[in-house]
Symmetry: C2
Subunit: 195 residues, 2 copies
Amino acid sequence: MSRWQPDARGRLERAALELFARQGFAETTVPEITAEAGLTTRTFFRHFADKREVLFAAEAGLPPFIAQLMAEAPAELGPYDTLTHSLETVAATRFDGLLDYLIARRAVIRSDAGLRERELRKQEVLAEAIEQGFLDRGVDEVTSALVGRMAAVVFNVSLDRWLDLGGSRTLLDLMQEHLALTRVTFAATPPAHSS
Amino acid sequence: MSRWQPDARGRLERAALELFARQGFAETTVPEITAEAGLTTRTFFRHFADKREVLFAAEAGLPPFIAQLMAEAPAELGPYDTLTHSLETVAATRFDGLLDYLIARRAVIRSDAGLRERELRKQEVLAEAIEQGFLDRGVDEVTSALVGRMAAVVFNVSLDRWLDLGGSRTLLDLMQEHLALTRVTFAATPPAHSS
DNA sequence: TAGGTGATGACATCGGATGTCATGAGGTGT
DNA sequence: ACACCTCATGACATCCGATGTCATCACCTA
């Protein structure tokens, strides 16, 4: 038999989310989490850089996944079509069965300003991955920066609304709607300053 | 004569930026900052909620200012024109003489992940102010959320590039360029999914 | 069976953050 | 002129998040 129980990391993640949801993030100490998981405080910080990170480590794979999709997209696609292609693949393949977990997690994150900051940083990492994807496709720097961040906005607003609607519409459907809505808002009026 | 030296807050802000720039954010303790400013640790935390906040308190007035501009914009303007009108006023009136300060501050923020997170939260507050401005003008919720965040993206990318270029182009000019570029990228290609 | 590897435990310490009470200058009212 | 209030700050105590260091011991490999 093993010296320790298996999946220390997963046990810490589950114990943390449960305690945060029950008694609040600030009101939960790391020793409480580790006691619940049968580990020590020091071990918690070996798995997660800080107390917040335990809520975000699970989704670390998303930025590289999007980067891979963008790299594999047909070379002839422009920035907008590369974006729709990649975002729609993500929406259609990576969020099955996570609705309840994500709703519980969002409630905890919304209850604490520090967690909200960490979430924004994770969203920025996603935006940077998309930006790098554009750069690798030869898109100029300014367009890459702008469209990378815009893509992250569409993704995050869609995910948020998907949770709001409790899954009654698909994430893919919402993302397509929001991409189209963005296009209409920015394109409907003639430019005020033409050169 | 006053019991204490005047402008405790300003003295703390200046001492903090100077120490952070000279020896790093993590390597600077709050007692060091307060010693430099001739105050105590407890007083620091009376003025700023935490050590990071001392770098951001100065720009707290921006979101309400944008909200005011949006409220005062002609009622017949659509979302896009309201946005350009307000952003361009901000760009043209609120950043004179701040270039060197903002460059020094950005260097400190970039050196520390925690400061980057705090900056992102401040940018989100700006996005939320813009979103609320749209809601108050009767724009629907989804469009308000999307365009509010898009506006913050354009603003932040422009500000960042203004600092990169050392002020050789005006912030106003850059913002107009980036608005136009966004419009072209999203509008140039026909929608992949038309209804 | 001997030694290496790697995850964990145990202990110590630093500093960020907060609660509480004391202090004393400036303002206010009578 | 006197008493009182207000409020920014000082002084002190404490909690806990975060990190460095060394010991421990199952598992793997040769």
